[in-house]
């Protein structure tokens, strides 16, 4: 089963290296990993997508939680989430195919962000499946370049996010002494 993990970590040098090194050392296979700022200054938010048995994913969560700079890890796979990915796709476009491509972009609610003499660059945001569909339809035209961000995810409002309903949005919601694993991962 595919799992989505959300991890919050201190924004310090080398922290990304600690996380990626852990995956490599423990032989975990990561499908995508994205990282950026969270709403709390000094705290980065990482979304990790990995395929694996529940037992393995449970280990990933526990091992990640042991990293001193990682403050919070949550498996959101079973929770209602908003999931998005952004992709930039540069597709070959001759004058006779340009309108067809533009029409596809419109159907997918994607945007054309750059127009060149022989290509168009399309920006699409959405769940990965939607991005996959558009990529599939564009491929026959010739995709010259593509950049995908990987998944970012957020638990929907009003759902139990595993943090006693406090959300992550304030400093006080940062767990102080909660045995994270005991609560959040079924043993």
């Amino acid at each position: 089963m595919k799992h989505t993990l959300v991890a919050l970590m201190e924004d310090k040098p080398g922290v990304l290296n600690r996380v990626s090194s852990l995956f490599h050392r423990r032989n975990y296979n990561i499908e995508s990993l994205t990282v950026g700022h969270s709403e709390v200054p000094g705290i980065s938010r990482m979304t990790i997508v990995l395929e694996g048995e529940d037992r393995i994913v449970e280990q990933v969560v526990k091992q990640l939680s042991k990293l001193i700079n990682v403050t919070h890890v949550l498996d959101v796979s079973d929770k209602p989430t908003v999931v998005r990915e952004l992709a930039l796709i540069k597709v070959r476009a001759a004058s006779r195919t340009r309108s067809e491509i533009a029409e596809l972009a419109r159907i997918f609610r994607a945007r054309i962000v750059d127009v060149g003499a022989t290509s168009l660059t399309i920006e699409i945001t959405g769940p990965e499946e939607r991005v996959d569909s558009l990529v599939g339809l564009l491929r026959p035209f010739g995709i010259e370049e593509m950049a995908r961000t990987g998944r970012v995810a957020m638990v929907r409002s009003g759902e139990d996010d595993g943090n006693n309903g406090k959300g992550y949005s304030s400093q006080t919601a940062m767990p102080q002494s909660v045995p994270l694993m005991a609560q959040e991962v079924p043993m």
Partner: protein, 566 residues
């Protein structure tokens, strides 16, 4: 108070109660060494940085305090790696300091520059690169806290040379702020109740005593629990000493070279209560074959250990210091005489197969270890190396005292014993510390004889010299067609080498010389090396073949003559 970064390091160490450190100076730590002379910290100069890490580890294991080592940048730092990995695998609290090239040239491949925080990332509990002197007090406070709390482990602090020189206004923090570091404080009372109920219902329970019992200092509570419930206890290699070996409920070590009766007890147990053990493969065999009839209760301070190797039916996450006092009162006395009688039968079988029950004039290693036990009355701190010598020590020295065995369990680091024993002896000056090593492992850190001589460390060293990398040879005998590829080993005259370092050395070739030699070592005030030329092809029994269940043991053949089994 105005201090340089270097002074801030030592000031902080004094405040952490550090009295002894182990290290080797070099270019990138010269400011640190320059300042060291003004502080009441004894620096033990070792001859190779690997030994500094092992010594700090041995010091920590013997005393329960954090061990400290120091090395320069580049090769000094990389030489620490084996020692840090050893400490990490065995959850030993060590703080390592390394010098780093000045911060303006970090990343330029400067002389003796290496990315030590990157290299040690997977073998430390945490590490730091400090390039600003004002960070030092906080970082050191955190490092000691992280190293000794929860599941202990090594922490490395890499300090650029300019940060050692810069001046700061020094203040040592009273507390740490580590939002991502949480110790288990959860309410485990319902799990403890369930555990007690499972124990009370069990007819054939066994306790596994792991290293965690020793690390948490709960040896007395373990005995109390075992005695109250009449529950036999099997130790892991690093759990040896958690319960006195002579205690009637103590079955000794289990696992690949465990006691037959200990492995059989695990095979037939209907309940296993693991206290601070991580179900290492050398202890369990293939996980699905381990304790096949038992429900398993796993108590550990580290949640990541639960279910990692062997699935647990019940997990209790917490420090044994908290868990055992909650559990024992709920455990009821049960009549388990039938179960204990069954174990006694296996124990008698083990005794019959014991080589010491057989007549032989050969100089066998088991006899040497047993005589060291007699001479020290089981009260020495034994520091074993890795391989056959380690297993013979574990099987034939009857450990009486807590923290009485120090050995590299997880990483299995040959060359560990001598430097680790230096650390142990520096921590416990009035105790007798013995090294048990093979001729192979001893040659990996033999240079530390110079450290012993310089520091006048009264270590007693027993080399079980069989001219082989013995455990390799044994595996080749059993599983690789007796082809002793690469395992035949020559060595120096170890007694002469010792004497060259200024340490008395004896060579023992006959069984009759064993007791006088050991007596001489035990009664001498200083260090002594005993080189025992043992039967070359003696094997460790029982042995569980890799991939086999631990109850499928290769037992000792009945008779032994001239080292050849028939």
């Amino acid at each position: 108070m105005r201090l340089t970064g270097a002074q801030a390091v030592w000031e902080s160490l004094v405040r952490e109660g550090v009295e002894t450190i182990f290290g080797v100076p070099g270019g990138a730590v010269l400011p640190l060494y320059h300042a060291l002379a003004d502080y009441p910290i004894h620096h033990v100069l070792v001859r190779h940085e690997q030994a500094a890490a092992h010594a700090a580890d041995g010091y920590a294991r013997a005393t329960g305090k954090v061990g400290v080592c120091i090395a320069t940048s580049g090769p000094g730092a990389t030489n620490l790696v084996t020692g840090l990995a050893t400490a990490y695998m065995d959850s030993s609290p060590v703080v390592a300091f390394t010098g780093q090239v000045p911060s303006p040239v970090i990343g330029t491949d400067a002389f003796q520059e290496v990315h030590v925080t990157g290299i040690t990332l997977p073998i430390t509990k945490h590490n730091y690169l400090v390039t600003h002197a004002q960070e030092l007090p906080t970082v050191i406070k955190e490092a000691f806290y992280i190293a000794r709390t929860g599941r202990p482990g090594p922490v490395l602090i890499d300090i650029s040379k300019d940060a050692q020189i810069a001046e700061i206004e020094y203040a040592y923090p009273d507390e740490v702020h580590l939002p991502g570091y949480r110790l288990p404080q959860g309410d485990f009372s319902s799990q403890v109740q369930e555990a007690a109920q499972m124990l009370n219902e069990a007819r054939r329970p066994v306790i596994i005593a792991g290293h965690g019992v020793i690390l948490s200092g709960t040896e007395d509570q373990l005995v109390e629990l075992a005695e109250k419930g009449h529950i036999p206890v099997v130790a892991t290699l690093l759990g040896i000493g958690a319960m006195p070996d002579e205690h009637p409920l103590c079955l000794g070590m289990g696992g690949m070279h465990g006691q037959g009766h200990a492995n059989m007890a695990l095979a037939e147990a209907d309940l296993v209560l693991s206290l601070g053990s991580r179900f290492d493969d050398r202890f369990t065999g293939p996980p699905h074959t381990f304790a096949p009839l038992a429900r398993i209760i796993h108590v550990d301070v580290d949640p990541a250990e639960i279910g990692k190797n062997v699935p647990a039916d019940l997990a209790v996450i917490g420090d044994l210091k908290d868990v055992l006092p909650a559990l024992t009162p709920l455990v009821e006395a049960r009549d388990r005489s039938a179960w204990l009688a069954r174990i006694r039968e296996w124990r008698e079988e083990s005794a019959q197969l014991d080589i010491l029950a057989q007549e032989t004039d050969d100089l066998i290693p088991q006899y040497v270890v047993r005589q060291i036990w007699h001479a020290t009355q089981g009260n020495a701190i034994m520091v074993s190396d890795v391989g056959q010598n380690q297993m013979w020590e574990a099987q034939y020295y009857v450990h009486r005292r807590r923290r009485g065995l120090i050995s590299s369990g997880g990483l299995g680091t040959m060359g560990f014993a001598l430097p680790a024993a230096i650390g142990a002896q520096m921590g416990l000056r009035d105790e007798q510390v013995w090294v048990i090593a093979g001729d192979g492992g001893f040659q990996m850190t033999i240079q530390e004889l110079a450290t012993i001589a310089q520091e006048q460390i009264p270590l007693k060293i027993a080399i079980l010299n069989n001219g082989y990398l013995g455990m390799v040879r044994q595996w080749q005998e059993f599983f690789f067609e007796r082809r002793y590829s690469g395992s035949r080993l020559s060595g120096p005259d170890f007694a002469q080498v010792a004497r060259a370092y200024g340490i008395p050395g004896l060579t023992i070739r006959e069984k009759s010389e064993v007791v006088p030699a050991i007596t001489q070592a035990v009664t001498s005030d200083g260090p002594m090396l005993l080189d025992f030329h043992i039967v070359p092809e003696e094997n460790v029994y029982p042995m569980v073949a890799p991939g086999s269940a631990i109850y499928n043991m290769i037992r000792r053949p009945k008779t032994v003559q001239n080292g050849e089994e028939e």
